[in-house]
């Protein structure tokens, strides 16, 4: 049983955890477009590959799958998720399971306006969003929303070009410098992260880990503390099943005065997953079971509350 981790980047912990799970069972192969992606060096074997946008990229990945007798493949970066989903059949034809959600859900995760429309139409609390500046100003004038607001690209990830605007002047300035920006309500509450596994055989939500994010200065350090709330678990399960996600996903949620707001979904392992794993919430084994044709039993919230996770920098030398 061999697994291929695409675009491993700096997710060394994810690669290490797969190696632990697949130890004595099979090989963990990783790829990156750069020899300076440190995580590949933690895999059993690695390939430096072209950028995902290069012609022939998917054919090359399929070749690696054949050569390394890969059973399951997943990617750790957003733009590649849709690509894998779009080519799911090609992988299936050579016996490789794409561990991930459908093409439409991967695309929706990249498009904040589409995500917003979906959440709103299905009755979930979420941050109000506008592509049309004038509609936003009308909402301001009607008192439906107040400053500050976020101005950000409606497509984009990793907090690139997100600005907080305190007034109309700033919204005008930001939108005059860039296109494809949306205005989004600023959610002022406790940030929560959820790591969720949806069984790829049964389609059931089999594992949920939730943590409160602890804010630090200037994004320097990421710290969080595990917690449980059945009401949140129920909301997550309902949302995930209604949308139809599969495999590993990561959800950003806000708690505003006891109301949960869904903010974003990454249909992949997120940077905070190590917290879940270190608390015993091992999704690598759930994936291994699925690749072996076994569905997993539902086991939600089987971890301790009040466990703190603190990140720090480790280095790899080349």
């Amino acid at each position: 049983m061999n697994i291929l981790i695409l675009s491993a980047g700096t997710r060394n912990k994810v690669v290490q955890y797969f190696k632990k799970t697949f130890n004595g069972i099979g090989t963990v192969v990783a790829t990156d477009a750069s020899k300076l992606g440190p995580a590949i060096y933690d895999a059993d074997k690695y390939y430096i590959v072209p950028s995902i946008t290069e012609p022939g990229y998917i054919e090359l990945i399929l070749d690696i799958c054949k050569k390394e007798q890969i059973n399951g493949v997943l990617s750790l970066i957003d733009p590649e998720l849709s690509l894998l989903a779009a080519n799911e059949e090609l992988f299936r034809n050579i016996g490789v399971t794409v561990i991930g959600s459908s093409y439409d859900l991967c695309e929706m995760a990249l498009d904040k306006m589409q995500m917003y429309e979906w959440l709103k139409n299905h009755g979930y609390n979420c941050a109000r969003s506008w592509m049309d500046k004038n509609e936003f100003y009308r909402a301001i004038n009607n008192g439906e929303v107040t400053y500050p607001v976020f101005v950000k690209p409606y497509r984009g990830s990793a907090s690139i070009s997100i600005s907080k605007a305190e007034d109309k002047e700033t919204v005008e300035l930001l939108t005059s410098h860039e296109n494809n920006l949306m205005v989004q309500e600023f959610l002022n509450g406790q940030e929560i992260g959820a790591d969720v596994y949806i069984d790829m055989i049964s389609g059931e939500v089999v594992s949920i880990f939730t943590k409160k994010k602890i804010k630090m200065r200037a994004g320097e350090t990421d710290k969080a503390v595990s917690f449980k709330d059945d009401r949140l678990f129920e909301l997550i399960e309902r949302f995930v099943l209604e949308a139809g996600y599969r495999g590993q996903i990561d959800i950003d949620i806000f708690d505003i005065d006891g109301q949960y707001y869904i903010s974003e979904v990454n249909p992949r392992f997120g940077g905070g997953y190590p917290h879940a794993y270190e608390c015993g919430v091992d999704h690598m084994s759930l994936i291994l079971n699925n690749l072996n044709g076994k569905s997993n039993k539902k086991s939600i919230g089987r971890y301790e509350e009040g466990i703190y996770m603190m990140k720090y920098n480790e280095v790899k030398i080349l």
Copy 2:
């Protein structure tokens, strides 16, 4: 021989390296104002202490020094460097060496305008800076500087509130929202980091490690590659001796078309120091020698070029 590392924060690698050096020789004690500072858990012993601004803070640190029979003390955060320097005599009176630079140099490191004036007056290339907006506009009109420029607090660290401004409109908007901002020329070149050790007994520059920083998206990952240039070593030595730094310092430099510009100095271990250590540039041993009353021999550039360092996130669980 025991050492005390104050405000250890997320600098786990620095604590680990000291533990290696002091193994069998003495104890490494660390402090942090938060139990969520992961680095303290890598020390032999740790204390959770109040914020450095609390009354009685220094007395508490002096008490820890006495109790733990500390020989040398250093801090890993900027605002504490001046505090240690200001109280150097109190530490000296109980046999503790403050590993750091003078009060004036620690203060200059916090004040970008003061640093700029010093560099300009001593004939070093550096980014032109203005506290007075109108003087800056005059420089723009005279063609002495061009957009983009940085607008940032003249005191501050960790890239908090630094904005790039592409035009006058943006400079006006930024300065209308905040006080104490300076305008700084944008240096467009190769960023370089230098880790330097100035012997605390001889006052000589005994070790220099330089690396080129490799830019990644949105500050997500820090990667760098070691290199050597005698011309740069000479510049660093001249600058450091002229200013009078002591102990460990970290310098940010830009290479613009073969000309070196000095950008910033942190008179402490910086976040990039692990690269130097992993290349064999061990400043912990130089500190140990100094604490033992031995001066170190000059050994500049004793490392290999072309060694890459890649950071990734490790986690500590509490």
